[in-house]
Every structure is written in C-alpha cells, then in structure tokens.
C-alpha cells in the first residue's frame, strides 16, 4: 500500500539547473544591456579650395543659407527672397531674425527653435533643392545649442508625410569658423 502511493506521488520539477543557467545569463546580459541609444549628427568642414565650376547657370541664384548664433538669438542670412520680399536689404542693427524668448538668452532652451524651423520651412518651399545650411556660432555658444540648432534645421518633426517621416529641411550641416 505504502509503495504504491510513492509511485504515483508527483516528483517536484528540478529547477536548479535552469536557475544556474539563468543566473549566468543575467550578469552577461546586464553587461551588454544598453539603456541609452546613441546616434550621430554628420557635419563637414567648409571645403577649402577653388570654387567649383557650375556647368549650367542655375535659374535662381544659389541659396547660401546660413544661420548665425549669438547670445541674442538666431540670424538667418542668404535667403532674402523669403526674408525680405520687398527687396529692402536688412540693416545691420536690426537684431536677430529669430530672437530669444528672453534677451540675452539664459539657457539653451530659451532659444526659439520652433520659430526657426517654421522660417526654414518657408525658405525650403522657395528652394526645394537646397540641402545645405552653414552655421556660424559665436565663441561662447554652448555645444548643446548647436546640437538643438542642427535638429531644428535638419527636419521639421511636426510635418510628417504619409509614411510618418518628418519633412527634411536642410540636412547637410557645415559649421563655419564662427564670429568672434
């Protein structure tokens, strides 16, 4: 009677080998786990050398879009057709095109990236083939402003096409020597 009972008794599953495996796997995966995703922003130096010959004269004068960064805000240059439709040349003391929310800018967040993106959207409408923007930052502009500026000039995340991709504005960034 007693022997028969032992026969049908359920053996508990031996989990110890699985435990061993798991406790080895966990430290290994912990080491390889990545909790932040890295990405890169491509940029080039301004090309040095003679200007390249343009074979066919372009219909429009080429856009030399550049954005200067000061501690007052962003100054967009080189797109006068959009910025000054009346043709009046901008005066030197007009101040930045896209001023900071507070002047002078206190933090990287006080620059008005949204307004700059909106302005670049208009310029892109006028010059759909241009992809290059030249950044001219002042010496004391923090690197973070530069990265946020490159984000603002690269794409408009609020305008998505039907595939869910953001509208590309000026993805080729050239960082110029800078003023002062």
């Amino acid at each position: 009677m007693a022997g028969k009972r032992a026969h049908i008794q359920e053996e508990p599953l031996n989990l110890v080998p699985i435990m061993n495996l798991v406790s080895i796997l966990i430290p290994f995966l912990l080491m390889a786990a990545q909790f932040v995703t890295l990405a890169v922003i491509d940029s080039t130096l301004p090309a040095i050398g003679p200007p390249q010959e343009v074979e066919t004269p372009p219909d429009k004068p080429p856009l030399m879009l550049s954005v200067a960064v000061t501690n007052e805000g962003f100054t967009v240059m080189g797109a006068d057709a959009v910025l000054n439709p009346q043709g009046a040349p901008p005066s030197a003391d007009a101040g930045p095109t896209v001023p900071c929310q507070e002047r002078p800018c206190q933090t990287p967040q006080s620059y008005d990236y949204k307004a700059l993106t909106d302005l670049l959207n208009q310029i892109k409408d006028e010059y759909p083939d241009d992809e290059t923007v030249i950044l001219v930052p002042e010496s004391r502009i923090p690197y973070e402003v530069l990265v946020l500026l490159m984000d603002a000039t690269r794409e408009d995340v609020n305008k998505k096409d039907d595939k869910g991709k953001s509208r590309l504005l000026f993805p080729n960034v050239v960082i110029a020597g800078g003023a002062g």
């Binding site: 435990m19 390889a32 932040v36 890295l38 890169v40 922003i41 502009i141 690197y143 990265v147």
Partner: protein, 173 residues
C-alpha cells in the same frame, strides 16, 4: 516504506517565484541587449546633448572632449583649463601653451598619427570598407563653449579629418 514522521519533514525551498522573477528580468535584458560599435564612458565631466537624429553611429577615430580633458581613442591627450572673460564668468578653454594659433599641437600630433595609421591600413587592405574617409567621432560635453569645439575641429581638419560625426543621445528610441 515507512511513513516519515511529521516532525522530520523538510520542505524543499520553493524557487518557483524566483524563477518567475528571473524570467521577467531575462526578457527585459534581452530586449535591451545591443552590440554597438561605440560606447560612451559616462562620467560627470561628459554629458552628451540629446538630439532627434536617428543616424546610427559607425566606428571611427573617437575624440572625447569632456569638461576637463581631451581623449583620443581612449588615451588622454591633454587637460583643459578655465579662463575668465571680461565679466568674470569662467569658460572652459584650451590652455594657451598648447595652442599654435587655433591649432592644438598635441592633439594634432596624435590625430596625424591616427590618420597615417588609417591610411596604412587602407593601403594594405585595399578594400572600399577600410578606405580612409577622414571620419571622426566627436563626443563633446553639452556645456562646452563653441570656441573649444572650433579649435578641436580646426585641428582635426588640419590632420585630414574633415567628416565630423557628433555623438549624441537619441531622444527617439
């Protein structure tokens, strides 16, 4: 077989609930598992900015500019100092004795060495994959003033590195 007496019964350790926990941790860790070409040595001196870009990093010469030093491919090159401006505010700067004009001499020597090394590899392998493209990965602290970045970029440009890849934390993951 004798029925064991009640007093001597030893319960086995119940590890089922621990297994449950481990299974959940295992799934989570497998999800965050990744093998990336580059890694960032996080420290208080180096905090990368956050960006919306989605371009994946590729292996290249790695220049780290933290708040206190410049490092090329893991070995330290030089230290940075702080200089006050006219209002008394302190800015991170490259020490004057390390510079020749805008060029940081010690960094230039190190980068030139790297460029020549890369070109030798390119010649020896003669494959498109290893061709010298002058690519450089820049990991810079977000508080660095542009003057330091400019000097590093200028130096790298002189040492034949002209394609800069700024490493940032991706905010869209």
């Amino acid at each position: 077989m004798k029925k064991p007496r009640r007093g001597t019964v030893t319960d086995e350790l119940n590890i089922t609930s621990m297994m449950d926990m481990f299974t959940i941790i295992l799934v989570f860790l497998l999800k965050s598992y990744s093998t990336e070409d580059i890694s960032v040595a996080a420290s208080g001196d180096l905090e990368l900015p956050v960006s919306t870009t989605m371009v994946k990093p590729k292996l290249a010469v790695n220049v780290v500019v933290s708040k206190s030093s410049i490092t090329v491919d893991g070995s330290a090159v030089m230290a940075l100092t702080k200089k006050p401006d006219e209002t008394g505010k302190e800015w991170i700067a490259v020490p004057d004795e390390e510079k020749k004009g805008q060029m940081i001499t010690r960094l230039y020597d190190r980068l030139l060495e790297k460029a020549e090394q890369a070109k030798r590899i390119a010649e020896a392998t003669a494959s498109e994959e290893h061709a010298f493209k002058g690519e450089i990965l820049m990991q810079c602290d977000k508080e660095l003033p542009f003057s330091v970045i400019r000097e590093v970029m200028y130096t790298a440009g002189q040492a034949q590195f002209s394609n800069f890849r700024f490493v940032v934390y991706s905010s869209t993951s």
